[in-house]
């Protein structure tokens, strides 16, 4: 019965902490508006480059108006046929077989006048095409150039093979590209990750770091606020210090979880909507795994840092007094941020492995490793066990300091005094 009453009180305290914060303008702003702004910023480059491409007349969905100039009989037609075979809608070609300085000047003028997007200037030697120039309006697309190069090479090679009695289909079969892939016999410990994916992993990992720090500090502020407004005394009349601290930590932890959930949802939509990021996301351990691990390490890391912050908040009378100590708490986290970059590049290096097991940096570094590599099970297990044990120790020590500290006003306590509080009844 009494146990239930205690749980009920923790619930009431948690609910107040949560609702009071969720309703504030700053929470709504930072939770919904901020990521939307960031998401739209991420879209901006894509939108801009599409605009530029459209302006240049060579956007991805536009047909390129092309002239193919070759003196060799039938070559221009062969190149055109090859282009049509590859992508019927991509090009419309006009064929020219009398190359001259006059013609070239004419074509250049047409490009400038935007009635033409580009031309292929093919020169033949003894055996087929010797050189090809793709003249175009600036930045008319790398993809188009590659397509053209391949088409020219194919058409030219086919024509070289024809005198040897090899037909068109036979020639195509002979020079068909080989499908070349790699297969790993021993599963690699690092995932093959591109630059976009790496950037996304870095964002996730940094998010973990920022969450741990900001919600920890939030707990400290909440404790200091209650202490300086003396409401702690009123509360402790009907609830215990342990219940009070638990409710506070849970309420603010739930705030963090809410914020992270909203962010992840927005991020998922943005990532899925953009083909480049969507492809990148599937190259690392994204999806349910990444989110599940985030929540596990966020919760453990949050419990660790928030309980330390609660103890610091309870020991002092103002944020100013607590500053020196908050900096001390921040130090391991700051050191951890320096290791995020190495952790993503070399997730199995000795220092990173050690950092991913050390409890103060484990939430960030082990999470980073889980995203970009496949750490051995024993390392994951050890990291979790050490972290859980540390969380338990931090919670019980902090609860003791909290219990005494919240009722101590006046002078700033020394470390020795705080240690003595641990022994109080």
């Amino acid at each position: 019965m009494l146990e239930w009453q205690g749980a009920r009180r923790i619930g009431i305290i948690t609910r107040r902490e949560y609702l009071q914060r969720v309703r504030t303008r700053s929470f709504i702003l930072s939770t919904i508006l901020l990521p939307l702004i960031f998401a739209s910023l991420a879209w901006l480059p894509a939108i801009v480059s599409e605009q530029i491409a459209a302006e240049l007349g060579a956007g991805p969905h536009k047909t390129m108006r092309l002239a193919i100039v070759a003196s060799e009989t039938g070559l221009a037609a062969a190149v055109e046929a090859e282009l049509k075979r590859r992508d019927p809608g991509a090009f419309t070609a006009t064929l020219e077989n009398n190359p001259s300085a006059q013609l070239r000047a004419d074509l250049d003028r047409k490009i400038r006048a935007r009635t033409l997007d580009g031309y292929l200037w093919l020169e033949s030697g003894g055996s087929g095409v010797r050189s090809a120039i793709f003249a175009r309006r600036a930045s008319a697309g790398v993809a188009a150039a590659r397509q053209l190069e391949a088409a020219v090479w194919f058409a030219s090679t086919e024509r070289k093979l024809a005198p040897l009695g090899i037909g068109l289909d036979e020639a195509r079969r002979l020079i068909a590209p080989i499908s070349f892939t790699t297969a790993d016999v021993i599963a690699p410990s690092t995932l093959p990750i591109g630059e976009v994916a790496l950037a996304m992993v870095a964002v996730l990992t940094r998010r973990m770091f920022v969450s741990l720090l900001s919600y920890g500090v939030m707990v400290m502020r909440a404790v200091l606020d209650e202490k300086s407004s003396r409401i702690t005394e009123v509360l402790m009349c009907s609830t215990s210090a342990g219940e009070l601290m638990t409710g506070k930590v849970l309420g603010i932890g739930a705030i963090g979880l809410t914020q992270v959930t909203v962010w992840f949802s927005i991020a998922a939509v943005v990532v899925a909507a953009n083909p480049a990021t969507h492809a990148a996301a599937s190259s690392f351990n994204a999806g349910a795994g990444a989110i599940a691990w985030f929540i596990v390490f966020y919760l453990l890391g949050y419990l660790l840092y928030s309980s330390i912050h609660a103890a610091v908040g309870a020991s002092f009378n103002s944020t100013d007094e607590a500053q020196q100590w908050t900096f001390m708490i921040m130090l391991p986290l700051l050191a951890t941020t320096l290791m995020i970059e190495p952790a993503l590049i070399a997730p199995n290096s000795a220092l990173v492995v050690a950092g991913s097991i050390f409890p103060l940096s484990a939430p960030v570094l082990m999470y980073a490793r889980l995203l970009v590599a496949r750490p051995p099970i024993w390392q994951i297990g050890l990291s979790l066990i050490v972290l859980i044990a540390t969380v338990w120790a931090a919670l019980s020590i902090s609860a003791r300091i909290y219990r005494v500290g919240v009722l101590m006003y006046g002078k700033r306590p020394t470390l020795r005094e705080v240690v003595r509080w641990l022994r109080y009844a």
Partner: protein, 301 residues
């Protein structure tokens, strides 16, 4: 009357400094008990132990006849000296939260909170944030918060601070009403005039120890019997050099006498009436303030 709270040889130290030492006292239902003393005497430390915020190092505290337990503490209400409310929350939210925490259901907390707000004349402020309220209004909300769960045992630390005379009078009426309902009220204050008017019993603490305690009237009688004021018509030398008089101050027809221990005022009255015409003869009770200054001063000397 049944005993509500009982402290027995309670001791509490903080970092080697004795805050409360060997303190015993008891409070009964239907009584207003004054816990008096100078600043730093150990009043707040004593209160904190009474309502279970801290535990004594030694000694026992019994509440409602049983050792202190969280469950019985639901029957206690506490008004701290410094106001403790969430400034960013409305009056309603504060009362609802504190009421629920004190064991009321949500609906009951809301109902009681509203009733107290009306009683305090704050109904217009029910949906306003605490920070928008004046100091006196905040004090009234704090008061409502301490009483919302209808506690049998009420502890008020300097309840009159920040209240104007009208507010103080309202509060006094409520306290007397609660007393009439048979509740036990502990009033901690250094305002002796307030304590004198309200308290049935007192405990005067200084340096963590009880110096004087018991029924207020009896304490006053003990102190008061040795002081007499006489208005009379007759010789200026009335009672001069009398063996029962320790000190004499004459002001024409008004005389103030301090008697020696064991002196009988009745005998003195008879003697005075024999030589002069007495228009007033009064046994003076010293004010609580005088007792306070006398005892605390004597201890410090």
């Amino acid at each position: 009357m049944p005993v509500t709270v009982e402290l027995e040889r309670v001791r509490k130290c903080y970092d080697g400094v004795v805050a409360v030492d060997c303190l015993s006292m008891s409070m009964s239902a239907g009584e207003i008990f004054g816990l008096l003393g100078p600043n730093g005497a150990g009043k707040t430390s004593t209160i904190r132990m009474m309502i279970g915020i801290t535990r004594p190092d030694s000694g026992t505290i019994r509440l409602f006849g049983a050792p202190l337990a969280r469950k019985s503490l639901l029957g206690a209400g506490y008004l701290p000296e410094e106001r403790g409310l969430y400034r960013r929350m409305t009056v309603r939210e504060n009362l609802l939260f504190l009421g629920e925490l004190a064991g009321l259901s949500r609906a009951r907390a809301l109902e009681r909170g509203r009733a107290w707000t009306v009683r305090m004349g704050l109904e217009r402020w029910f949906e306003r944030r605490i920070e928008e309220l004046s100091k006196g209004m905040q004090q009234k909300v704090q008061f409502a918060a301490a009483l919302i769960h209808e506690p049998e045992f009420i502890v008020m630390d300097e309840p009159f601070g920040g209240l104007d005379p009208v507010g103080a009078n309202d509060l006094k009426e409520i306290l007397l009403e609660l007393k009439a309902q048979g509740r036990t009220i502990v009033l901690s204050t250094h305002r002796m005039d307030q304590a004198e008017k309200l308290c049935d019993s007192i405990c005067l603490v200084s340096g963590g120890r009880a110096i004087v305690q018991g029924n207020l009237r009896e304490i006053k009688r003990q102190y008061g019997e040795c002081c007499i004021q006489i208005d009379y018509t007759g010789a200026d030398t009335l009672m001069a050099g009398h063996p029962m008089v320790a000190a004499r101050r004459g002001f024409g027809n008004h005389l103030e006498l301090e008697l020696k221990p064991g002196a009988d005022p009745q005998a003195l009255l008879r003697e005075a009436a024999a030589v002069a015409r007495i228009s007033r003869f009064e046994l003076m009770e010293p004010s609580l303030e005088e007792i306070f200054i006398d005892r605390v001063g004597r201890r410090d000397a």
